[in-house]
Amino acid sequence: MSPLAPRLKAALALFLLMALVPPVVTALGDPFLTVVANRMLVFAIAALSLDLILGYGAMVSFGHAAYLGFGAYAVALGARWGLSDLLAQILLGMAMSAGFALVTGAISLRTKGVYFIMITLAFAQMAYFFFVAQSSLGGDDGVALQARSSLLGVSLEGDMALYYVTLGALMTIYAGLYRLTGSRFGRVLKGTRENALRMQAMGYRPFPYQLVAYVIAACLCSVAGVLLANLTEYVSPAYMGWHRSGELIVMLVFGGIGTLTGAVAGALVAVGLEEVLAIFSDHWRLGFGLVLVLVVLFSPDGLTGLAKRLGIGGRGNG
């Protein structure tokens, strides 16, 4: 751990940079960019949670956005039941996500590779259509929130407050996952990724480790969902469609898998890039797609690989 691993340094630099965004953009006279940056942070949390299972456990979930949705609906349901505290809503979101992830994860883990990709998609689509069918929650039209949540009695109506809460959540989750992936649990997970048979020979049953990781990732992703709902003050099944799950994979692979820092960087850059390109043309998808293709062709391991070759931290963790 000491001296600081390059990827940890890179992550700290990113967090510091993001921490400076609100005062800087306010000083520059465009405080609204805080909201834009907040969206980047929310997706960084989601991508980070996916990295635990995809990067460290080689479980490519194509249904991860479902948990973004569970988190968002926890806010809508919480508001309806008088739960306006962010922590209470996070707990609710995590409970829903954990329950769903436990059952579907146990079934999904019977499969591997592309079959795992598709069965996770199947379960996420079922969750999606479940919420589309809930007329009391607006169905497909979604439901607008009357107000943002509060945190321990402090309102998050201010964009600045929500921003720093999001950044705090991101940093906490990063730190937690950094510890977790470095622990014995994380090493077993990585060992299973590299060679499941050898791990079994050593006396580890991969299944419980993988399932626990799957549930943890789901719970952490639901935190992003709670924050996304607060940011947009709106909850919709569109948050959990397969497009979103695909976008999460794209952000993560774009940044580089299995380093945690890559997940954060991938989400920040991908969301930021979409934002910038959309300013210039309706046809921004063309440019965005081109960037993705070029990154794959010329920079294996995504942005992390690029950074490594340029000699600025972010060493992959095997």
Binding site: I107, V114, F129, A133, V253, F254, L286, G289, V291, L292
Partner: protein, 307 residues
């Protein structure tokens, strides 16, 4: 009621064959080259757009089809040369990322070239009638032609892979690439051909369905997931599996959608049955896939221990 049930069974099988037609190229590329090509859906879309253009220019369905096929083949070769050949040895995730990028580029490119409004392809005069079926229902001749095209693709692919020298090389190349290369076979050229052929199959499907479905910039995405469902249920790499799975998906979706609410009404009160039926209808194919993978984790005909 029984008549209608049989009819819906037929409709389901028919929809399944249509799905197989689209999935055929994907099975080939996915199964043999172990390559996840998310851009298969947009190749299908490009085929439909080229068909719309050529059929419009020549004022003939058949000439349009004859021009659209080589055009998608060339398009596939160009893509293979520029992008895909650099991805064969890469991880599935890199393939997913790059082909996702291609989806964005090609969908947007189609919008720039052809606009956002949907296009029309007229049905050929020869196939535009309908034949009377039970009672007042008529069955469009064109649908029969689609079924024939789907069956021909299935048989052709099966014969190609199992009973030709090229097919043998492909199967060998799929299981041990360096060994086949060491035996003096130009494996990269072989893969290039397979890929281009897969692209042409996608384009063929797009061109064939253009008269029944809307030709619009979203058509590739709406079918992409369904085709993946089909090959995964069937088991990656199995043409036979993909064919049976396509029919299974078509039948479960069609029959479940129409008869599900009726069956539900036997066990619950009508309004609850209607409500549940509506919620379950779009989930049917996913329930089917989850169930199949639960009992058989590598699909119906997948290799045991396959990746």
């Amino acid at each position: 009621m029984t008549n209608l049930f049989l009819l819906q069974l037929l409709n389901g099988a028919q929809f399944g064959i249509l799905l197989f037609l689209v999935a055929a190229g994907l099975t080939l590329v996915f199964g043999i080259m172990d390559f996840i090509n998310l851009a298969h859906g947009v190749l299908y879309m490009v085929g439909a757009y080229l068909m719309a253009t050529f059929a419009g220019l020549t004022d003939s369905f058949w000439l349009g089809l004859m021009l659209a096929l080589p055009a998608t083949l060339i398009f596939g070769l160009v893509l293979e040369f520029l992008v895909f050949r650099r991805l064969y040895d890469r991880s599935h995730l890199d393939q997913v990322l790059a082909t996702f990028g291609l989806i964005l580029m090609l969908s947007e490119g189609v919008r720039i070239l052809w606009g956002s409004a949907p296009l029309n392809v007229d049905m050929p005069e020869l196939l535009s009638g309908s034949v009377p079926l039970a009672g007042p229902l008529k069955y469009p001749v064109y649908r029969i032609a689609v079924i024939a095209a789907g069956l021909a693709s299935a048989v052709g692919l099966w014969a190609l892979i199992n009973h030709t020298r090229v097919g043998m090389l492909l199967r060998a190349g799929a299981s041990n690439r360096p060994m086949v290369a060491a035996l003096g076979v130009d494996i990269s050229r072989l893969f290039m051909l397979v890929f281009a052929f897969g692209a042409m199959l996608a384009g063929f499907a797009g061109a064939i369905v253009a008269p029944i479905l809307s030709v619009d910039p979203g058509m590739g995405e709406s079918i992409l997931i369904l085709t993946f469902v089909v090959i995964v249920i069937g088991g990656v790499g199995s043409i036979r599996g993909a064919f049976l799975a396509a029919i299974l998906v078509g039948v479960v979706d069609t029959v479940g959608r129409t008869f599900g609410p009726i069956w539900l009404r036997m066990v619950m009160d009508p309004s609850a049955a209607a409500q549940t039926g509506r919620m379950l209808a779009p989930m049917l194919v996913y329930l089917l896939m989850a169930a199949v993978l639960f009992w058989s984790p590598t699909g119906l005909f997948g290799r045991k221990g396959a990746k």
